[in-house]
């Protein structure tokens, strides 16, 4: 059985890909070149897809800069050093409008072409940096929509399931799961605002959450 796995090249999506492999799926990893400032994550995604043995990997080019309005795609500063209370209280400027809706739509298209029904996404409703499109109610609504959207679903050959294996896990839990699944953490990339050499800033939400996860799990992040 085939599954399309959204793969940014970060810790969460890499863990999801390994999870799907372990479930017995033949995995097809999907990444996006969407004009993100941290495009270095695409190199990580390619390396991870290969390292974990994905049956296929595509990088879809979609220009989200056409609309602007996010610190991840525009000349807006990525917030640094936010504490947990602030992360939980407000949706940051790193939010990209409708990003997961767009990503899942592409995953749906590829799933239909592959005659797959299963889509895996590494959203997380706990340490989630406040993004609305990481919540279970969004995922459920997307799944319901997807089952009305495609030729394969209408013809009864596809029953879309969106899998979110990390949705109720803390970042520390994800690190522990990653250890269990043998994720090569050193190959993953999480930072929103890496330097020219691709090294993480250590201060953006993504870096801070990652550091906290490793710290709490008692695992060293190489």
């Amino acid at each position: 059985m085939r599954a399309v796995c959204l793969l940014s090249g970060g810790l969460d999506s890499s863990t999801c890909l390994a999870w799907a492999n372990k479930q017995g799926y033949e995995t097809y990893a999907l990444s996006f070149d969407y004009g993100q400032r941290h495009r270095v994550e695409l190199d990580a995604a390619r390396t991870i897809a290969k390292a974990l043995g994905a049956a296929g990997h595509r990088v879809a080019a979609i220009d989200l800069r056409v609309f602007g309005n996010s610190a991840l795609t525009d000349d807006i500063a990525v917030p640094k050093g936010r504490d947990e209370a602030r992360m939980n209280a407000e949706i940051p400027v790193t939010y990209v409008p409708a990003r997961n809706t767009i990503f899942l739509s592409f995953a749906l298209a590829w799933a239909e072409v592959l005659e797959a029904s299963d889509i895996v996404i590494g959203v997380n409703a706990l340490d989630y940096s406040g993004y609305p499109d990481c919540r279970p109610e969004f995922i459920n609504a997307f799944e319901a929509m997807a089952n009305l959207a495609t030729k394969a679903a209408v013809e009864g050959r596809m029953r879309v399931r969106i899998h979110t294996p990390l949705i109720q896990l803390s970042k520390a839990d994800i690190v522990r799961l990653g250890v269990e699944l043998g994720i090569p953490f050193g190959l993953t990339h999480s930072c929103y605002d890496p330097d020219a050499a691709g090294l993480p800033c250590g201060e953006c939400d993504s870096c801070l959450l990652r550091a906290k996860g490793f710290r709490e799990a008692g695992v060293e992040d190489r």
Copy 2:
């Protein structure tokens, strides 16, 4: 009030744009360069957006060829000369996997950036060539999902409405509405498989449905 209007440059979407203008919306037209063989429709879209006075127009580049599997994006022959019974009975190879899901997801992103709640799409459940993502149940499910997807919706600043002014109209009704709204039909492009000069083939589903609509409405298609 602003509305994002999906605009392919064809008869239906052009009529929708004019409809939205007449409703009093400040309209923002959105087209896609998705690797379609009939890219000449993008020129039509640009001309129409200007002619109808859209406040903005964007062409988003998204490569749907990355997945393949449609006669509109791949080296698969566009079916010609299908009669109505066949059009109603089977979903043709011109179906592009999850296309309207993807298009609406981008419209949602731009709507959020524009602080708009309204999205207009020219889907049609009657003379619809059998596409599953043109049906009311799909549109309703997308709307429900969209209202859980964005920061603006979660913060109560956006209540997404997907408008489908043509959904219950016959092609002849659409031509009549187009006449009423003063659509410059000669500027629109409907053919899936135009020749090198951009002229319509006259034999694909889209050409046949268009010709039937004009014939039944008793209007000349210049």
